[in-house]
């Protein structure tokens, strides 16, 4: 047998262990009891659907019952007919969508020709979006087409919707876009 470093140390380590083995003399019960505590033990369970693809896997979201109610864990829902508890890597990483230090918590604004983003308030951002949408829409609004038919539309704005929106969110979004007069409404419809 050619003794490599790995093997050599194995042998010497094992020999040393052979001289003084027998796992007696240490009380491991606190360590082992800790190892048996489930982090989701006191969590609230809510079911949800993974937003990432068209398969529509069911997941269980564990949130803290105390204090902030943040997400502790998200895993596949064994009772869900589609995935029976399984999730792919995207689904298995779902909690990273919510609990993520890189996640933006405030709206960011980059002014035209600026090269830096600055944090702005929600009030300012929503007001500014509404103002600009209204301005563009009013400037382009078409009541009648070339044939004289009533169309009430704008072709100056397009909406590229979110794949992560669920059915109900899509309905509200669609209603808003139609009310403004948009016809270019695109959505990577999944769930």
């Amino acid at each position: 047998m050619k003794v490599t470093r790995r093997k050599f140390i194995q042998i010497s380590g094992a020999a040393a262990a052979g001289l003084a083995t027998g796992n007696l003399g240490f009380d491991l019960s606190p360590v082992m009891a800790h190892a048996q505590m489930l982090k989701t033990k006191y969590a609230k369970e809510t079911i949800t659907i993974c937003p990432y693809c068209a398969v529509g896997c069911g997941a269980i979201v564990h949130t803290s019952k105390k204090g902030d109610g943040r997400v502790i864990n998200i895993e596949g829902d064994p009772d869900h007919v589609i995935n029976r508890g399984s999730l792919c890597s995207k689904g298995a990483g779902l909690s990273g969508l919510v609990e993520n230090e890189n996640r933006l918590l405030e709206p960011m604004y980059r002014a035209p020709y600026a090269n830096v983003w600055k944090q702005v308030s929600w009030d300012w951002a929503i007001g500014e979006i509404a103002r600009r949408v209204k301005k563009t829409r009013d400037a382009d609004f078409t009541k009648k087409n070339a044939k004289g038919q009533i169309v009430n539309r704008t072709t100056a704005i397009a909406s590229v919707g979110s794949a992560a929106m669920d059915n109900e969110e899509c309905w509200i979004y669609q209603a808003l876009m139609r009310a403004i007069g948009l016809v270019y409404i695109e959505h990577q419809a999944r769930i």
């Binding site: 042998i11 380590g13 491991l28 505590m37």
Partner: protein, 239 residues
């Protein structure tokens, strides 16, 4: 101690990395910065914060390209060389109920690098401060009647977990079926470890540490025998 075991059928693995992500998620481990190295295997290797890694290998066998997937993790050896090398149950111990080999943060009295070198599968990794980490079989989940996170999430049934006898039966039955199409198929070290892989090609093509060197467990068995013969050694030595 029959305990628990995994059966990992690499033939069913499609390398979605669900196990890898679920493992990180359950253990609250951070992501690692990765770079495009021309392979989907990311991060490049196991680490202090990556206990489970799907290894990708492209190889040509009989003129055909084969893409081999190997969801690598701690094998939870029946007689773990790392546990014996450490020889300090405060640092490394086995849960008698499941057989899970558990590393604690209490590593003051062990030679961390010797422990790493003792592993026939090159699994343990250290943090900067020298603390060891690796797969813990999701012992908290298992002791509470849940499947390990990696097994729970597996969409194809490549990852299986249960009582050891049950897993051995499953592994042998599956091997018999697979052998009809893949004559080179075999189980990796089924008698020595709790994580039994089924591979259809030479294990070295999957990962250089896919199987243990022949000597590794012979030594362990001798040590185990010593243990049986001298159970009171530590007590009589007065620690």
């Amino acid at each position: 101690m029959p305990g628990k075991s995994f059966f990992i059928d690499t033939l069913l693995c499609m390398a979605c990395k669900g196990c890898q992500a679920a493992c990180k998620q359950w253990h609250d481990l951070p992501a690692e910065k990765t770079v495009n190295r021309g392979t989907y295997q990311n991060p490049a290797d196991l680490s202090f914060v990556t206990y489970k890694l799907v290894r990708f290998n492209e190889t040509v066998i009989d003129g055909k390209l084969k893409w081999l997937f190997f969801p690598d993790q701690c094998r939870h050896c029946m007689e773990p060389p790392c546990e014996m090398t450490a020889d300090d149950p405060r640092a490394i111990f086995r849960d008698p109920a499941t057989g899970a080999v558990i590393y604690t943060a209490d590593n003051k009295n062990i030679d961390v690098h010797e422990v790493i070198e003792s592993c026939p599968y090159n699994i343990p990794r250290t943090a900067r401060d020298g603390t060891l980490a690796k797969c813990d079989m999701c012992n908290d989940r298992v002791r509470n009647g849940l499947l390990p996170a990696c097994v729970k999430t597996c969409p194809t049934g490549a990852m299986n977990f249960g009582d050891r006898e049950e897993m051995l039966v499953m592994a042998r039955r599956r091997l018999a079926t697979v052998k009809k199409i893949h004559p080179k198929a075999k189980l990796l070290d089924p008698d020595d470890v709790r994580v039994i892989y089924l591979v259809t090609e030479d294990p070295m093509l999957y990962h250089s540490f896919a199987v243990a060197s022949n000597s590794a467990f012979d030594i362990s068995r001798k040590v185990a025998l010593n243990k049986l013969l001298r159970p009171l050694n530590r007590l009589t030595a007065g620690l």
